[in-house]
């Protein structure tokens, strides 16, 4: 069975961090599990945690009047769920729910923010990695905004 240190060190988002930085991050992490259908967090709640998915999938949803819950994006093993812990007002923008039985590593956002304040090098390294995640999701969202399957003309 792999240790928490190994799981975190091998994840794409933390790849390349040195052992001292990893040790600081591991100090804010714990293993968690969610049953299929269970909610990880709810829109508007305090965003004090983020997750690294190890097994199963998580879906981000929001409630739209007259449409009900709408799925925004599903996230797979190796992907990060949540970045609202990084920015004030530290509140979730969407709901997150387990699509399958999920195993994940949960990170205490306040703990990590404190360590980033104390160690700006760690702070920059973490912020750079999360910026990559955010930009990747932004690019995908932009393409989806083009509605590439919807605009069809022809005879």
């Amino acid at each position: 069975m792999r240790t928490l240190d190994e799981l975190i060190a091998d994840s794409p988002v933390f790849a390349g961090l040195d052992s001292a930085q990893l040790e600081l991050i591991v100090g804010c992490a714990k293993n968690v599990g969610f049953a299929r259908g269970e909610r990880l967090f709810r829109e508007g709640d305090p965003a004090d945690t983020f997750y690294l998915v190890r097994r199963g999938r998580v879906v981000l949803t929001t409630h739209v009047p007259a449409r009900g819950d709408v799925a925004i994006e599903s996230l797979e093993p190796g992907e990060v769920v949540g970045w609202s812990w990084l920015f004030a007002p530290y509140a979730w923008h969407f709901d997150a729910r387990a699509l399958d039985d999920v195993r994940a590593v949960a990170f205490d956002g306040e703990c990590l923010r404190g360590k980033c304040d104390d160690d700006p090098t760690l702070g920059f390294a973490l912020m750079s990695r999360f910026a990559e995640v955010i930009i990747d999701r932004l690019q995908h969202t932009r393409i989806r905004l083009l509605d590439i399957y919807g605009d069809v003309s022809g005879s």
Partner: protein, 283 residues
């Protein structure tokens, strides 16, 4: 040996349509139907990747890729999305009606060249229809290929084609299937996100893999980017292009793309041969 009239092959590229009777039709989505056609005379035998000109008598003719297996008995399957006058007329035909068919036209998916390596089939929206015969061919000759991946993207779950077949394909241990949609109701249990996000998860040896891609041009562009980022060379990636094809035989020029006529030189192209044309705003 005497040849029955029904087995007579229509001259390739004939300008006159041959009659086909609609033996049945299957509703795929709210605006998309698959017509199952039986020959009333000479037959047409398209190969995976090729298209036929399908004629709604009195309305007009449209190019439609073959979406069925080459059956050998001349029967055809064409999956049609109602987006204009002709396709609306074709989607509204009844069982027993007769339509005209010319063809087959165009180039084919490179299944012989792909043998021996992994295969990744990436379909966006109705792009799954032209790829379906290529996939069924690969599954019928499964030992000829390494890992076979099918990656499907659609706008919503309601826009997915061939849903029963997709479920059967998912159950096959020798086929890796990924399906994702751009938007979904909260109860959808599948993936949500761009089809390009499935590409890095595909199991393939990029050095010997071949990719077949079909969908809206923008989807193909971003899919190719993801495939190249995954290590595939552009000369191992094939795309099926669509332009306003009219004559089907390279005479009218309606489907011209730079030096190419899509109906004659395509619709299936090796990506490195058309990349510069797809990026040209002046064309």
């Amino acid at each position: 040996m005497a040849t029955s009239p029904a087995a007579e092959l229509a001259p390739r590229g004939a300008m006159a349509p041959v009659p086909y009777r609609v033996s049945s039709r299957t509703r795929e989505t709210a605006d998309t139907w698959t017509l199952h056609l039986r020959p009333l005379g000479p037959t047409i035998e398209p190969v995976a990747g090729q298209f036929d000109m399908v004629y709604a008598f009195g309305v007009g003719e449209v190019p439609i890729s073959t979406s069925g297996d080459p059956s050998g008995d001349g029967c055809l399957e064409h999956t049609i999305r109602a987006v204009g006058a002709v396709t609306r007329a074709l989607c509204a035909v009844n069982e027993g009606d007769v339509v005209g068919v010319r063809g087959p036209f165009g180039t084919t998916w490179p299944l012989d060249e792909a043998r021996g390596g992994d295969l990744v089939v990436v379909a966006g929206g109705i792009g799954l229809a032209p790829l379906r015969p290529a996939l069924t061919h690969a599954l019928a000759h499964r030992d000829d290929f390494g890992v076979v991946n099918l990656l499907v993207g659609a706008r919503t779950p309601a826009d997915l084609l061939f849903t029963e077949e997709l479920e059967r394909w998912r159950l096959r241990p020798d086929l890796d299937v990924g399906v994702t949609v751009d938007a979904a109701p909260g109860h959808w249990h599948g993936d949500v996100g761009l089809v390009t996000r499935l590409v890095p998860k595909a199991r393939l040896d990029a050095a010997v893999a071949t990719a077949l891609v079909c969908g809206p041009e923008l989807m193909m562009r971003f899919t190719v980017e993801a495939l190249v980022a995954g290590g595939l060379e552009k000369d191992r990636i094939y795309v099926s292009l669509e332009r306003s094809m009219s004559c089907g035989v390279g005479h009218c020029g309606h489907c011209q793309l730079g030096p190419l006529l899509i109906c004659r030189d395509g619709p299936v192209f090796r990506y490195d041969r058309v990349e510069h044309l797809l990026g040209a705003r002046e064309l």
